[in-house]
């Protein structure tokens, strides 16, 4: 067997391991092994790449140096990545995924750029515009240029889109307000047309100048497409960018004629698309609505009209009494819970209540947290068994039989105006029907609006008791009060 055949066999092994890795993600126990197998596949593919003909040839010319150079950069990247991964808080997982997506997209774009400037392309750059125009027909080189153009386009959009998403999720002040330029659709259309023209330019001439312009325009487009998207729609954006980073890798695979890139890239592309569809369904939003509708940050109802005179604030002792009489309690955790680092406090409250004979369950909205499945991770961090975490459709019918629903740091996902007010920005979004419980306790710092920027009539409902304060401290006080009795 030729050495290339061995390399291809290694790539095939890596591809199979990636598929098995995804397959084993179906259960929490097998998933650990799946992730490990994925990493093994990656290591095999990386080792195989070091034996590829261009690398081997340059080792033949320069000795061991090229390999050391590659190892140095790979080790630096691996070190940075692993350090980030070990230190990053679980609450900030969406930001980290956004950042990593951006790096992946940028890497695919750079692979295309490097290939374009490599020897087989160099001759083409020395052509002047006149020669290009004089050459009437396209050449076999074209589909290579198509792949380069696409890798560059998707990679650049992923890079800037991810950086903007990171800024929004990290709540950097510059990204606080969605970009609401009334002409943004025309700007995006103009940029999209420019992208098409430049793609055509790259396809037909393979000029470096067109390539660089394509990178610039695509990068701008990535930013202008993501900037208008409101914070509440970020889970969709994260999924979509995840898909893009895979597709960019697949496009890079077309560029260098490498099937492991194509296979791994398309697996990730498929995964991102499925999650995007699931998130859209959970928010009752169409993908075009998320991307181009731009959920306005402006409130349609003034919060004073909703809240005036109707808010009932309760103290610890009163709430402890309510909870002591309850036999079925459902806890609705939101992102605010994670911000307050109150996962462990929630668990202690649940332990005390269960010790008194009550049943305690957790209702998890699909978009609780800021990326798909985020809340499950945060509660798992507090050792809450995942059997008690119930999905929305599963638990919603049981709210009328629930004595007390405790909403901690959630807002938009329990906002009944999604059901009742057709003019609400979140109209039609599936919500947890906590307002149907006997009593609702809302633990919240203040009446400030959630990510969608709208007031919540639940806070003013007759069966709602507001408990203002820091989520963690409130829970600890409540637990202590119940344990005393």
């Amino acid at each position: 067997m030729s050495s290339q055949a061995w390399i291809n066999l290694a790539y095939l092994t890596a591809s199979m391991l990636f598929i098995v890795a995804f397959k084993q993600m179906s259960g929490p126990r097998t998933a650990v092994r799946g992730n490990f197998l994925g990493a093994v596949g990656m290591a095999i593919a990386i080792l195989a790449a070091c034996f590829e003909q261009p690398v081997a040839a340059s080792i033949g010319r320069h000795g061991i140096w090229p390999l050391l150079l590659l190892a140095l950069f790979a080790a630096a990247g691996g070190g940075i990545g692993a350090t980030m991964a070990l230190r990053w808080p679980m609450t900030g997982m969406p930001q980290m995924v956004a950042l990593l997506n951006g790096f992946g997209g940028a890497a695919s774009m750079l692979v295309a750029a490097a290939e374009l400037t490599s020897t087989r392309a160099v001759a083409r750059f020395q052509e002047g515009p006149a020669q290009v125009l004089a050459r009437a027909s396209l050449e076999p080189w074209t589909q290579f240029a198509i792949a380069i153009g696409l890798a560059c386009l998707i990679g650049s959009v992923t890079l800037t889109g991810s950086l903007v998403a990171f800024g929004k999720l990290q709540e950097l002040p510059q990204f606080k307000k969605p970009w609401a330029n009334p002409n943004r659709h025309w700007i995006n259309l103009g940029l999209a047309i420019a992208v098409l023209l430049l793609l055509w330019g790259v396809f037909s001439t393979s000029q470096l100048l067109f390539f660089l312009m394509l990178v610039a325009v695509a990068a701008t487009l990535g930013a202008t497409l993501t900037l208008p998207i409101g914070g509440a729609d970020m889970p969709v954006v994260i999924c979509l960018l995840n898909s893009y980073s895979g597709l960019a890798a697949a496009a890079a695979g077309f560029v260098i004629d490498n099937s492991v890139l194509v296979i791994a890239g398309s697996l990730v592309g498929a995964s991102g698309l499925i999650l995007t569809a699931i998130m859209c369904r959970a928010m009752n939003r169409s993908l075009t609505g998320v991307l181009f509708g731009g959920l306005g940050a402006t409130a349609t109802v003034a919060s004073d009209d909703v809240y005036a005179g109707k808010i009932k604030a309760a103290e610890t002792e009163e709430l402890a009494m309510v909870l002591e009489q309850a036999s079925r309690i459902v806890i609705v955790p939101g992102y605010g819970l994670a911000v307050a680092q109150a996962q462990h406090a929630v668990r202690e409250l649940a332990d005390v209540l269960e010790a008194r004979g009550a049943t305690v369950e957790y209702a998890i909205h699909p978009v609780a947290g800021r990326m798909p499945g985020h809340m499950n991770v945060l509660l798992a961090e507090a050792d809450i068994p995942y059997e008690k975490l119930r999905e929305m459709d599963d638990i919603n019918p049981s709210f009328p039989e629930t004595d007390v629903a405790i909403v901690i740091g959630a807002n938009d996902v329990v906002n009944p105006s999604a059901r009742t007010d057709p003019n609400s920005p979140i109209a039609g979004m599936p919500i947890l029907d906590v307002d149907k419980a006997q009593t609702v306790i809302v633990v919240k710092r203040s009446l400030s609006p959630g990510f969608a920027g709208i007031p919540n009539p639940l806070f003013a409902a007759d069966n709602t008791l507001m408990f203002f304060g820091d989520g963690k401290k409130a829970l600890i006080d409540l637990t202590a009060a119940i344990a005393r009795d």
Partner: protein, 118 residues
């Protein structure tokens, strides 16, 4: 027809010397076959992942999208042109951050789903 005729014509032209034995159109279609089949497998496998594992799924698949590091190593390792090497090495760095960060953080999360028995 979505694809302009000029491109289709060019796809069927004679192979350049470095692609002996396979004309560019066949190569393109071969990779397209792989792409579409892998997409299909992806859809089948990933729809079976439960909602509670969607965050580790996202970060794990994110790590796998770092496979572009293979392309980066090949283009950088050739040391053909200055720009090519520079772009390639930068791509190796970024892709490795993606790979290592993704796998390590996914492992960290999955460990929390499987608390050690005390």
């Amino acid at each position: 027809m979505l694809i302009p005729t000029s491109i289709l014509n060019s796809l069927t032209l004679v192979a350049s010397t470095e692609m002996i034995g396979e004309d560019p159109a066949s190569k393109f279609i071969r990779l397209l076959t792989v792409f579409l089949l892998a997409m299909w497998v992806g859809f089948e496998v990933i729809t079976k992942v439960p909602q509670r594992l969607h965050t580790p799924l996202t970060s794990g698949s994110n790590a796998i999208s770092g496979i572009t590091v293979v392309g980066a190593l090949v283009v950088a390792g050739g040391l053909t042109t200055g720009f090519g090497t520079l772009f390639g090495l930068l791509a190796v760095l970024l892709a490795m951050i993606n790979v290592a960060g993704g796998f390590v953080v996914t492992h960290r999360m999955l460990e929390m789903f499987n608390p050690k028995k005390k």
